[in-house]
Symmetry: C2
Subunit: 196 residues, 2 copies
C-alpha cells in the first residue's frame, strides 16, 4: 500500500473502532492489531491515539461536508433537502440501533473526558446545525430557522439514543415518519404564510 | 463510619465520577482515592469496578422509583405529573450542560462496551418509559400512550445531548417550553375528545 493509502486505512479502522466500542476503550494497540501492519510503519503515521482521533474527526468533517453538498445538489427544494437529513436515520438504522449516532456518542464521550479534540468533534454538529438553519431560512422561516434546526437535530439525537438503548429499529422508523409529518405541516404552514 | 455508611459513600463517589468522566475512564483507584479510606476497607466492600457499577445502578434505580412516586403523590393530574418529568431538565440544567443526561450517557457507554450491566442500566430508561406510558394512558390516550412516552423520552434525550455538546443552558429552557406547549396542545385536544 502507498503511504497515503496506509494512513487512510488506519484512520478508517480507528473510526470504526471508536464508533463501535468507544474512544477511551479502544487502545492504540487495538488499532494497530486490526490494521495489520508493522509497528514501525504504524508509528511512521501516528505517534499517539490522540493524533489518530484528530485524523478521524477530519475525515468525518470532510465526509459530512460532501454529503451536505450532495443533498443540496439533489434538490433545489429546502424541504426535500431537510428530508434527506431525516432519512439518513433510516439509511443508518442498523448501525444506530447497535452503536447510537456516531456524532452524538463521540461528542458525549469527549465531553466527559474533557478531551482536547472536543471542540473539533463538535464541529460535526455545527455543520449540520448551520446547514439545517440555511435550509429552514430558504424555506421562509428566517426568524426561527436556528431554533428549528436545533430542534430537529435534537430530535434525531434522542431517537438514536433510545433506539440504541432499547435496540429498537422500529422506533427509528416511527419517529422518522413523525419528523417528516412535522416538516410537512410546517412547510404547508410556510406556504400558507407566503400565500396570505 | 459504619459499614453501611462507608459502602454508601463509595457508591455515591463512584456514581459522580462515572457521570462526570465516564465509566471506562474512571479507574478503581480513582474511586478509592476520592473515597479516602484504606484499600483494605475498600476491598471489604467491592472487589471490582463492575461490582461498584452494579451498586451505582441499583441506587439510581431506587432513587428514580422514589422520584416517580413523589411526582405521582404531588398531583393526581397526569398532565401535571408529565410536566414534572419535563421540568426535571430545568432542575438539572447545569449538570446536563456539563455532562449530559446521566441515564443516556451511561446507557450509550455501556452499549459500546457491550457491558454485562447494560440491561440493568437500561432499566432506568424503562422506569421512565413505563411511568410516562401510564400517565399518557390516564390522560386518555390508551392507543398511543407507548409512542407518546417514547417520543417525550427521546426529545428529552436529544436536548441533553445538544445542550452538552454546545454547552448551552438556554437551549434546554427553549425546548422545555416547547415540550410543555406540546403537552398543553395535546391535553386540550384530549379534553376536546372527552367533551365530544
Amino acid at each position: 500500500m502507498s503511504t497515503k493509502t496506509t494512513r487512510d486505512h488506519i484512520v478508517k479502522c480507528a473510526d470504526q473502532l471508536f464508533y463501535q466500542q468507544g474512544y477511551e476503550h479502544t487502545s492504540f494497540a487495538d488499532i494497530a492489531n486490526i490494521v495489520q501492519i508493522s509497528r514501525g510503519n504504524f508509528y511512521h503515521h501516528f505517534k499517539t491515539k490522540d493524533e489518530i482521533l484528530e485524523a478521524v474527526i477530519d475525515v468525518r468533517l470532510a465526509k459530512t461536508r460532501k454529503m451536505l453538498t450532495e443533498w443540496e445538489n439533489q434538490s433545489d427544494q429546502p424541504a426535500e433537502r431537510i428530508r434527506s437529513f431525516i432519512q439518513l436515520m433510516i439509511t443508518n438504522k442498523i448501525a444506530i440501533k447497535n452503536y447510537g449516532c456516531p456524532v452524538g456518542t463521540l461528542c458525549a464521550e469527549l465531553a466527559k473526558l474533557n478531551h482536547a479534540s472536543q471542540a473539533e468533534a463538535n464541529k460535526l454538529f455545527t455543520l449540520f446545525r448551520i446547514w439545517l438553519r440555511k435550509q429552514f431560512t430558504l424555506l421562509g422561516c428566517k426568524e426561527n430557522a436556528e431554533a428549528l434546526a436545533m430542534h430537529l437535530l435534537a430530535r434525531s439525537q434522542g431517537v438514536a439514543t433510545l433506539a440504541n438503548a432499547f435496540h429498537d429499529e422500529k422506533f427509528i422508523k416511527q419517529e422518522v415518519t413523525q419528523m417528516c409529518d412535522w416538516l410537512d405541516s410546517f412547510t404547508s404552514h410556510a406556504t400558507e404564510n407566503q400565500t396570505h
